[in-house]
């Protein structure tokens, strides 16, 4: 620490040398770094250049495509004749570029059109049913050996309006449908003499049974698990129909077919039609659905209705599956309404707002709700079906709501907790089998009333203006016609 001598920190030659060395090293480092940076820079530039080049190429390409676009399709077509001279590379390039751009949805599944085949392609095996409804037979396709049901379209030669519109609608709707719980229409065939088209047959897939005759013959009712399977299938078929804007309008157990593998299919679309949802202008005939399955709004003469009427029929079928007996066997419209009110209670302005405005409600003599408090629908149902679980009761009573808007839709019904609870729906493959009547013997005559006949009640009666005089008309004189049923139906099993 003395200030005299050379400071220990004084610069010496050594120090200088050292410093120079350090400096040199530093510089060297700097140089290297700079060089490295330069190199990197160069590399980056090179890369960028390459990128720019490709981008430019792309831009050019796009520009070219764009030019094509600007010229537009007509120009392209106009070039057609020159295309023939030098088409190949250009066309190929264009094809590939358009392939790159997007994937388009192709609509090619609709098939074509052509003449009907002859009924002679089928061998008749046995009659399934014959009667007022027309003729249904079991037959085998000669070519493939497949067994089908042949249903003859009933044509009244005296009917000067041509082929029956119900039959044509049935064919069209079945052609449009593709669902495992809806009977499949294979084709339409005609008699051999094609100069006049008089013999028209609908070829349908053959199913061994219909639910009605199974129920009639069973010694024991269906198990709860089996009822669930049947209802689920019915409901998924109806949900398909409704989502395709089709009303069935004649759901009943005799129109539900069952094969030996436990599969249920909805049949007989003779009453079916397309509908416009929430349409206030479309007037539909209320003379649909077999009386025992007919919804109260139809009985009250509403001409604006929707899928809810099918859901009412589902409720009736549900009840029938439980007891093997049709649920509401009214003798006529008035009796049917009475039976409905006995089962479901009397409608009130609260439970069904606006029902008093329906055409036929005017003639109703309802006990005033204040004097006799009616028990709730659920209570009535529980009394009628003591063995049903409470989820089942809630489903059934909601299906049989007098107020159409309170009924669940088919897709809502599929989600109902009734189907989630034990016992679980039985696997279709585990379903019991039954002896098939359709396979062998002639079906005995049915005792269910038939769907109302189209045209039996003309639009005059179907309108809103529905006086008491006309009420007598449908309730009284319509009965005989009712027995005869629609001209055309699809119950072949």
């Amino acid at each position: 620490m003395t200030g005299k001598g050379k400071s220990r920190w004084a610069d010496s030659a050594e120090d200088a040398a050292l410093e120079a060395q350090l400096k040199k090293e530093k510089e060297e480092k700097k140089r290297l770094k700079a060089e490295k940076a330069r190199k990197a820079e160069a590399e980056r530039k090179k890369r960028e250049e390459a990128e720019a080049a490709t981008a430019a190429a792309q831009r050019q390409q796009q520009q070219q495509q764009h030019d094509d676009d600007v010229n537009g399709p007509p120009a392209k077509r106009r070039r057609l004749s020159t295309d023939r001279d030098a088409p190949q590379p250009q066309a190929a390039a264009r094809v590939s570029s358009s392939n790159d751009s997007s994937k388009l949805l192709r609509f090619e599944s609709a098939g074509g059109f052509g003449k009907c085949r002859s009924v002679e392609n089928y061998d008749k095996l046995n009659d399934i049913e014959e009667g007022a409804y027309g003729w249904v037979a079991r037959a085998r396709e000669i070519e493939t050996g497949k067994v089908v049901a042949l249903k003859r379209l009933k044509i009244d030669p005296k009917d000067r309006s041509g082929l029956p519109v119900t039959g044509l609608r049935e064919i069209q709707i079945l052609k449009d449908c593709n669902h495992r719980n809806i009977v499949k229409l294979k084709e339409v065939v005609v008699g051999d003499d094609t100069r006049s088209i008089e013999n028209i047959f609908i070829v349908l897939e053959f199913l061994e049974h219909d639910l009605k005759s199974i129920l009639e013959d069973m010694p024991e009712p269906f198990l709860a698990s089996e009822v669930k399977t049947l209802l689920l299938q019915l409901c998924s078929g109806i949900s398909y129909l409704h989502s395709h804007y089709i009303l069935h309008r004649d759901l009943k157990t005799s129109n539900l077919l069952l094969n030996n593998r436990g599969q249920l299919k909805i049949a007989d679309f003779g009453m079916a039609r397309y509908y416009v949802p929430d349409s206030s202008q479309q007037k539909l005939t209320q003379l649909v659905v077999t009386l025992w399955y007919r919804a109260p709004e139809l009985l009250l003469g509403s001409s604006k209705y929707g899928p809810e009427i099918d859901m009412w029929s589902v409720g009736c079928i549900f009840g029938e599956l439980l007891t093997r007996e049709p649920l509401l066997q009214g003798k006529n419209e008035v009796d049917e309404l009475t039976k409905i009110f006995e089962l479901c209670g009397i409608p009130t302005d609260d439970s069904w707002p606006g029902f008093r405005r329906l055409p036929n409600a005017r003639s109703l003599r309802l006990p005033s709700s204040t004097t006799a408090p009616t028990p709730s629908t659920k209570t009535l149902m529980r009394a009628k079906f003591p063995l049903l679980t409470s989820a089942g009761v809630s489903l059934l009573s909601s299906l049989l709501s007098l107020n159409p808007s309170r009924r669940p839709t088919a897709s809502e019904m599929l989600e109902h907790e009734y189907f989630l609870q034990d016992p679980k729906p039985k696997n279709e493959a585990m379903f019991p089998t039954f002896p098939s009547k359709a396979g062998q013997e002639r079906r005995r005559k049915r005792e269910t009333p038939n769907a109302p006949q189209r045209g039996a009640q003309k639009e005059g009666g179907g309108g809103i203006d529905f006086g008491a005089v006309q009420l007598g008309g449908i309730f009284g004189s319509g009965r005989e016609r009712e027995e005869r049923g629609g001209g055309f139906s699809l119950r072949m099993v």
Binding site: D69, G72, P73, P74, K76, R77, R78, L80, S81, R84, S98, S101, S102, L104, L105, R106, F107, S109, A110, G111, G112, F113, G114, K115, C116, R160, S161, G162, L163, V165, L168, R169, I171, Q172, K175, D176, E187, V188, V190, T194, S196, I197, E198, I200, H244, Q282
Partner: protein
């Protein structure tokens, strides 16, 4: 999806039509055009919505790809197709209504296909002589019988498949999606629908070769060009699943109908004038066509193949024939433009 698609004609069917019954192509086109126009006129008089009449047009076109044109009287087939589609629609019409309308349209009092007025010959004052279109009961009965027969025949020929999806509602939906191309809603919509309706008359049978979405897009494209609307700059048609190739074809096809139709009217008038024996309406009949064939020295085949002619036609290359027709059409369009 089924309500958006149609069954389409097969290439064989389209080709076969050209050799059907040995009818020359331009005669077939004249029959097709006048019958489709008759169907439209009947639809108007029967107060049917265009959605019903247009379906009748499509069914009729399909029917003629399956059966020879000369099998039945053209007006009867037209009446049957209208009657059938109306019956299946929410607007049924009685056979008598149909009979009265067709009887009127075929009478000399109707202005259907009356000669196009030109400068030299001003249109004659419209005549309305009720006795011209009075329909006696026996004629009504025979018409009724023919109507039902043709109805059954059409259904048989189409395997009872009466499904027709029209492009009109799709076109409106697409226009909405395109925000009406920022032009007047009604102008461009009307123009679009006009193209779609005109396309029903096209000899290229656009409704049998293209799906509704493609027809709708092509009609919008044409309408937009006509009203000078600015279309999106990208390939907007791909959004509606139409490729450029098809769009281009349809755009030209739709645009060509107008000029072609004018020529057809002249053809029809000439043909009818040459066989005109007594006063009658503007619609051509099978007799007119047979007369025309005789004048050309061709044998009259009632649907059957006539030997020499079909063997003569056989070697014609399908593609060459198609190319020739397209070139002709192009020349026609460029000529008229």
């Amino acid at each position: 999806m089924s309500h958006m698609i149609n069954p389409l004609a097969t290439p064989e069917q389209l080709y076969q039509r050209r050799s059907f019954g040995a009818l020359p192509t331009e005669l077939q086109d004249a029959i097709f055009f006048s019958t489709q126009c008759l169907t439209q006129a009947a639809g108007l008089l029967l107060q049917l919505p265009q959605s019903v009449t247009a379906q009748a047009n499509v069914l009729l076109a399909r029917y003629w790809l399956v059966e020879p044109m000369m099998s039945y009287e053209f007006s009867d087939i037209s009446a049957a197709s209208v009657y059938l589609t109306a019956k299946l629609s929410p607007y049924p019409r009685s056979p008598r209504d149909v009979a009265l309308v067709y009887n009127y349209l075929l009478s000399p009092s109707s202005t259907f296909f009356s000669p196009v007025p030109s400068e030299e010959s001003p249109p004659p004052p419209p005549s309305n002589i009720p006795s011209d279109y009075y329909l006696p009961e026996h004629l009504y009965n025979s018409f009724h019988t023919r109507l039902l027969k043709c109805e059954a025949r059409i259904l048989y020929s189409l395997s009872f498949d009466t499904h027709v999806s029209l492009p009109h509602p799709l076109a409106i939906t697409y226009l909405q999606a395109l925000d009406f191309l920022n032009t007047s809603k009604s102008t461009i919509s009307k123009r679009t629908l006009a193209y779609l309706n005109t396309a029903l008359l096209s000899p290229q049978m656009l409704y049998l070769t293209s799906q509704p979405n493609a027809l709708a897009v092509a009609a919008i494209y044409n309408a937009a060009k006509d009203v000078g609307a600015k279309m999106p700059e990208c390939e907007w048609w791909e959004v509606f699943d139409v490729d450029r190739e098809e769009l281009g074809f349809l755009v030209v096809g739709m645009r060509s109908v107008e000029g072609w139709g004018r020529k057809m009217r002249e053809d029809v008038e000439r043909m009818r004038a040459e066989t005109d024996r007594d006063k009658r309406g503007g619609m051509i009949t099978r007799r007119d066509v047979e007369g025309e064939l005789r004048r050309r020295g061709l044998s009259v085949g009632n649907g059957g193949h006539t030997g020499e002619r079909s063997s003569e036609e056989e070697p014609v290359d399908m593609e060459a024939e198609m190319a020739r027709r397209m070139d002709e059409k192009m020349a026609e369009i460029e000529g008229s433009a």
